[in-house]
Symmetry: C2
Subunit: 217 residues, 2 copies
């Protein structure tokens, strides 16, 4: 599979990278969980968490999920590396990833005033060789008379098509199939394409690897 640059399909950043606020200030981060369906799940999870490069990231793991704070390109690399490590065990593994930006606090955050920011869309990381099937949801959370949720969502879906991972619309989600690196890159790209115009954007993706019952359609 070719790896066209996500940047080529970008709607353009809303701001220069140089003026990008720090991840802490802007609330840029991820929450994810790994579910290896094996009796030795603890070894697979801990092995994956230990193997990945955490440079530039702040991590907190509890009994439900792992919180990761950091810049978007590092989030993409870290998530790809961690989930790939679990997938390379050959075990049927599902990862659930939540990415959020623009809301530094908690679920009931008051969105801070200010313009929307998004850096350039990062390139997909090198192919992992792991085939992923995913269900993806994208939530632009904008109040105001000028809100136009759909424009960003359509751009994000179009971008997934250009990356070659779009495989259909389902109820509530878009289905993505392809190399794990490309699937996660499309999710991050969509989140940033919407984030160029909308300050608070969340996205959720459920990624399945090594499924005994599925595969790309």
């Amino acid at each position: 599979m070719s790896h066209p640059s996500a940047r080529a399909a970008s709607a353009g950043p809303a701001t220069d990278v140089g003026t990008q606020p720090a991840p802490d200030a802007y609330g840029t981060g991820a929450r994810f969980s790994l579910h290896p369906m094996t009796d030795s799940f603890i070894d697979v999870i801990l092995g994956a968490l230990d193997a990945a490069d955490t440079d530039g990231l702040t991590l907190t793991t509890d009994d439900v999920s792992t919180f990761v704070r950091g810049p978007e390109n590092r989030l993409l690399s870290y998530l790809t590396e961690t989930i790939a490590h679990a997938g390379r065990t050959g075990v049927h593994t599902v990862a659930h990833v939540l990415l959020s930006r623009g809301c530094p606090g908690e679920v009931a955050c008051e969105v801070a005033d200010g313009a929307a920011y998004a850096p350039e869309v990062p390139h997909p990381t090198a192919a992992t060789g792991l085939q992923a099937s995913a269900h993806w949801a994208l939530y632009p959370l904008e109040d105001g008379a000028n809100a136009d949720h759909m424009a960003g969502i359509y751009a994000a879906i179009e971008n997934a098509k250009q990356l070659g991972v779009y495989s259909g619309s389902e109820h509530y989600v878009t289905r993505l199939d392809g190399d794990l690196a490309d699937v996660l890159a499309a999710v991050v790209a969509g989140w940033l394409l919407v984030g160029a115009d909308v300050r608070h954007v969340a996205t959720h993706v459920t990624v399945s690897l090594n499924s005994p019952t599925g595969g790309p359609r």
Copy 2:
């Protein structure tokens, strides 16, 4: 644990149940996945899906998740029953649930015109005896000058406190701990409390059972 009625804390339905649109027309449904972390995961998943009462529901399962269409009280019963069945095996099992209303189509749906509708908040089902730990996110998706996302979210969190399952705010999510039936009831209640005023509302919850590393804080 007591089971106070979620209805008592309801902000009140926006409409009578009698005028509630059909789940198909309003897009009322769920998408969920079960992740039993055992070598025999297929048996646990299929056993759970086979055991639950599907009366009044339409189900479609693919290799990533299961789509369920139906009225809110049946969704709550079905999800509680299915996830509890998997949990009763004693296996560490994580369920991820997405509930959506007000958007009959896919991720890029055009939200149909019309008022917001929500039925009465269903009572929690009988206690399952299973302790659940959960991370919950709630997304009111409303365009327009009168949008006020926070009012509904605060009502939903306050309702979770009254149900006795709120245990703290985390980055991007609210943490819930308690009997599985009460945790899922709080999620459905919050979705409906927001849904009384906002047409398109999605909510995601990751529920962990039998974790070897956690438990309520």
